[in-house]
Amino acid sequence: MGCSPSKKVVRAKNATKRLRAVVRIQTWYRRYRANLEARRRCTWSIFQSLEYAGEQDQLKLHNFFNNMLDSLVSDGNSPAPLIRAFNVNKRASIYDTQSMRDSGGEMLQNLLEGMEVEPSYKGPHLTFPLTMNQLHKIVQSFRRKLTLHAKYTIQLLLEVRRILKTQGNIRYASTSLSKQVTVCGDIHGKLSDLYTIFHKNGLPSVNNPYIFNGDFVDRGQFSTEVVIVLFSCFVMNPNEVYLNRGNHEDHVMNLRYGFVKELQMKYKQHSRKVIHMFKDVFSWLPLATVVDDQIIVCHGGISDTTNLKTLAKIDRHRYMSTLQPPGECEDISTMDTQDLIEWKQVLDLLWSDPKPIDGCQPNTFRGGGSYFGPDITTSFLQQNKFKLLIRSHECKPEGFEYTHNGQVLTVFSASNYYEMGSNLGAFVRIQGAELECRVVQYMSTHSPTHRKVSFTQRINTVEKSAIQDLKEKILASKHKLLSEFKKCDLDNSGSISSSDWCCALETVLEIELPWRTLKSKIAKCDNNGDVQYETTFDELEVRHRYSGNGPSITETLYRHRENLETIFRLIDTDHS
């Protein structure tokens, strides 16, 4: 028979009630997820802004240094040599290359003189030609946190140099034998990621060729180990391992971003020689690799003037650092046109970034290279009969990204680059006759007991780290910021409107970020939304004591801490 009408009504009512409840929960959950997503992007933009602001500083270095010279007490014993060593041309922010040059054509072999291996050394003893067995020993010793002895490191580097010298600026890879080739992006000293790649994709060999697209070192803790493993693979398979130079295979960058510091720490009394060898070997790295005449792989990108014929003829060894004019050029104003053209070609290849807007502009974000648009890519690929440009240089949340209508593929192989959980790493397998690109993603975890972390926890961790980094930057400009805040605080209440607060931060720090959205994470707010601006500087341990006498030297020093370290390291390596 069925239910009575009243039962039917009750059932209908219940169904509606249930439906409403379900929709409520679904809507509530979607709101939560959207919030997480927005926070994730916000965090990402903090990291990127801070990273590129740092790189841009590199080229603004000369301003700081001139200021510093002013406050240094002249000791009367000719400050001239010091000034000359750091003479920076007023037109461009570069160093005098005198301090960087090879000291009088020193025979590199002499580096090994007097370098005996102590009996207490527990690491592997290398003999050449290198074998797979020895590579395993090297990896094992790295696991035990040992450093490869300076003697063997230098011998390895000498061998790498010998082979690189026989290779052209642009290398040509073919998949006719192996039927595939793997491309890896930035590794930046993340040894665990390199191991993850080899674990997933196998070690390099005749049947398993690899292209490593630059930025092996700096930033991560294990740059030395990464580059030694890569170079070992290279000397064992010089025709199947392609090493492209990145903007971080560069002495000036290494001074600032950690590689030199790491070498000093790991090689101690021998570090000077090792650093010298790396400086030299990096300048011998090829600039690009072409696969089957169809896919070009280079670290940064291209510009509207990129010309492979010109690039092929350059003496790439002249560029110890791509941030400086080549070799013996002492002053940018005395460079001839040809040199300038060549320098720009190299800079563009290693420093450029693709942008969605057509055209080609100087890359002001980085301070070097260009921004190139889809039209530039199209015409470059057409001109050279390529079908794809693979590059790296920029961290991507998914480890890779296609842009310019699929004509550009960015691949970035350092997972957790900014922080645990910040991004995946990836590599690309190019396979088959059609040269299909298959991307493999991963995220390396450190501890074996690492439990699966929820998406929320990941966002929280990464966000906290980003805010911490941002706060450091804020603190470095505390004096300027406080004075800006106080200007807006007409009634001396300790609070200013959120617009004023956001405005002050943007003006003083010169970074574009969603300040309104970040406001509550950085400072305390009143009930009406106004910001208690002094709390902007809370919760961060001040490492130096603020003396309170105007823009203290401490503050200036702190703000340029990284710059300072670069300068002192420079003095150290060349005048010690």
């Binding site: 409840a21 379900v22 809507t27 959207a34 992007r41 969605p356 617009s499």
Partner: protein, 164 residues
């Protein structure tokens, strides 16, 4: 005097809202050309604190889409609509106690928890159904690892703490 002060406050409120909208929009503007993918508009709106249902979202999109749907939403139209929504405080989020009650309604046997099957069925078969990804993510946080079910009272209070 009071009149102008009020007007000033109103103006600065609108200016502030406008800036907030701009910031949220820019976060999703991948090509830096003042457009966003239409599929992300829901996320942007929600990140600004508004909680329209899918149906309401559909209506909002209809208002701001181009006549010839391009797959993109432009900033100007979005901003105008969103400013109104924020000033009128539409689509305010549901307070937590009501969410708790919603869970209780679904808990027809009054157990104090929901099984994974129950929640899955509701979320994916009724109302404005979740897709697989949404379901998996919700379950990954909602399921109590020791008990193997959804202790919804704990879940709701955890979520409200994490949601800043």
């Amino acid at each position: 005097m009071a009149g102008t002060e009020e007007k000033d406050n109103a103006d600065s409120l609108v200016a502030d809202i406008h800036k907030k909208i701009t910031e949220a929009f820019d976060l999703f503007d991948h090509e830096s050309n003042k457009t966003v993918d239409v599929r992300e508009v829901g996320t942007i709106i929600r990140s600004l604190g508004c909680v329209p249902s899918e149906a309401e979202l559909h209506d909002m999109l209809h208002e701001i889409e181009e006549e010839e749907p391009t797959g993109y939403i432009r900033f100007e139209k979005f901003s105008i609509m969103m400013t109104k929504v924020l000033i009128e405080r539409r689509y305010k989020p549901t307070p937590d106690d009501q969410i708790l009650r919603a869970f209780q309604v679904l808990d027809t046997e009054g157990k104090g928890y929901l099984t994974v099957e129950e929640l899955t069925k509701y979320m994916t078969e009724e109302g404005e159904a979740f897709n697989q990804e949404e379901l998996e993510e919700m379950l990954s946080a909602a399921v109590n690892p020791d008990k193997g079910n959804i202790q919804y009272k704990d879940y709701v209070s955890e979520m409200s703490q994490e949601d800043t």
